[in-house]
Symmetry: C2
Amino acid sequence: MSLIQPRTLKGFRDYLPAVMIPREQMMQTARTVFRSFGFAPIDTPVLEYLEILSGKGSDETDRQIYRFQDNGGRDVGMRFDLTVPLARFAAQHIGTLGTPFKRYHIAPVWRGENPQAGRYREFVQCDFDTIGTTSVLADIEAVAVINQLLEAIGFDRFTISINNRTILSGLLDQHGLADKTVPVLRSLDKLTKIGREKTHEEMCRVAEISSEQADAVLALASCDGEAEEVLAQLPAITSGNATAAAGIERLTEIYRGALASGVPARRLKLDVSIARGLDYYTGVIFETTLDDLPEIGSICSGGRYDNLAGLYTKQHLPGIGASLGLDRLLAAMEQLNLLPDASTPAPVLIAYFDETHRDDYLKMAANLRLAGIGTEVYPEPKKLGAQLKYADSRGFTAAIVAGGNEWAESRCQVKTLATKQGADVAYTHDNPDALVAAVQAILQV
Amino acid sequence: MSLIQPRTLKGFRDYLPAVMIPREQMMQTARTVFRSFGFAPIDTPVLEYLEILSGKGSDETDRQIYRFQDNGGRDVGMRFDLTVPLARFAAQHIGTLGTPFKRYHIAPVWRGENPQAGRYREFVQCDFDTIGTTSVLADIEAVAVINQLLEAIGFDRFTISINNRTILSGLLDQHGLADKTVPVLRSLDKLTKIGREKTHEEMCRVAEISSEQADAVLALASCDGEAEEVLAQLPAITSGNATAAAGIERLTEIYRGALASGVPARRLKLDVSIARGLDYYTGVIFETTLDDLPEIGSICSGGRYDNLAGLYTKQHLPGIGASLGLDRLLAAMEQLNLLPDASTPAPVLIAYFDETHRDDYLKMAANLRLAGIGTEVYPEPKKLGAQLKYADSRGFTAAIVAGGNEWAESRCQVKTLATKQGADVAYTHDNPDALVAAVQAILQV
């Protein structure tokens, strides 16, 4: 029989232990942070009725949905994000769950887009949302969650950029540009890329607004500096427009609340030029960048929306949420050498070379695990050299060696693999304390 | 615009927080146990080339594969188990990874079967395997992992039934029945259901064997009692056949090794009648049942196989593994009232009813989280009654109440929600110790 070629589909990938260990760790860290703020986990099916999924994102995401007819003749699709399933879920269950409802959802999504470097057709999204309240406290909390997430994952130098869309809305209104919001924002989105002059020119040409109007918009977008300075400048720039003033007040509350929640001021930036998702977000919006790798773009974005589930229910469900770019962050950590270089989740290997003592190795391993120390026993009685080579290549931290002599003398050797140094330690199954202490000392190095 | 009906597909379900919290907890427990034995996580794509998936399970699973053509015209399918992807993965990567290779994989799979009570078309599998070794140590370890898994999840009364398929093979060989293995095993599988007499009758009729041959097979299968008794009886029943003798020797090593690994004898049963998966398993096999709910069947099964990935590679990859029936176990825990009744992952709710102190509530929450206490702040300044009702319905354990007076006097009220009792506790942002201690005392009750 001829062999079938073992391969993955274009745009898909396997996760080998060396990458999967930190990836799983990151998901676990995210869960712990979400839970500590009272966000609860949910899960939804990968497959949904196609009518639930299609027409909810952009034309582009629509084309990218993996869709087919199931055996029952139903048109179905694989979810392309976690927001549409959340909207469907909320419409279906919010009567049971009640509001406010805080959920997180960490799960894969699929998009049949043309794969680029570092982008895959299957990737994990990591979302959290607070639904059913317009309270500023939920906005503040979202900032605190983002800060805590990145800190817990291991980052110190990052910037959370915050804006409130209503400030710009007020300004546009003030200058009679309310009906030109979309083309103006579309030009404004290019500001950092093409610069002030070209943006000004494009605004006048494409959005058909006057040079003075473009100046006013750009004055707002260029408002820069420390957060308190930005807040001080904004009232003058928006000329006291009531909508803008309310927006500035709210942005101020979010900023000060974030500080009260323990977010360091150095990580907060008020950036009135960011707009994100023209149609979806209606209030505060966030973007987060790594100070040492700004070029990878935002690794945690989100904002406030007016009505989550309007396509599925008449119940008005405002909310706020954000999404952590887990796979992008993982790639960044790889680039910054922040990932541990091990493909074993257990730090200790017990070598096994005296077959008559098999049950002793097993007992020793059980004792170490009881003390909370992850321990693997090499499964075959091979030569010690081969086993230590295996220990090195997998990235174990310590190895324990005991042959007939050692067992007879109630001791064993504990080797630190990085330095190749070994030490003799007393050990019996009834009193593993010295071994546990010796191993703990090595693991803490 | 008319609304789209929010609904899930037939055979699929949403997981709401009250169920998802313990489900996620169970997955996390499984990961922790797997890691402590040195099993490493991997992940594979949900979609595979159809040729990888089809023809690998039974005709039944073949029919159940969700399959379609993707936009690139490729025939693809959604995985129906984690074993076929592991075989493909191993064939593709074992050169890089080396052996022995120990992995776990916790992920959803899909089968378009007709949904029955408690069975869904999407469910999570939770597998662990050791590949590339025939060592008995790996067999023993699998028993130890199963024991540790169930213990860590919270079970005490369960039975791991162990058999070694080669004992029966030896016996069949001894009686000239080697070519009748499949029909004999098929009848034998019905023993517990239809009883000894009917099994005997069916064996003679369907497998066309003599009454004496059927007697010999049933004598083995009926061999019962304490493990050491079973081991003592087996040599006589198998009349000293060499294959059977080697099989008995191995079963003895597995049993004694499991005891050495800390598995209590009361949880181990040597059951030479279990056969499982006629073609796949070739050595030791396991089934695990809950002593208080045997009727739900095996909740963790597996065994040793000769060659994992023969369809994809010429490399011979023996291994051993088992699969935890996570969703079945969750249903069992629900039935046994072992699941906590909360739909919040944070135990503490801070009531928010004095808007001028919003930042104080946020700071207090940050302080509690710093002490490792999951804390939610109610997002809106509603009446206290409504907030406490919310706390009750979500299953919070403690609530903290502080209004203008309390803030002025550097104190707050801590309420135990189960008893409705409250206590005054000193609190300032700079010294939250008394509050932390008071809350910890409540949470430990």
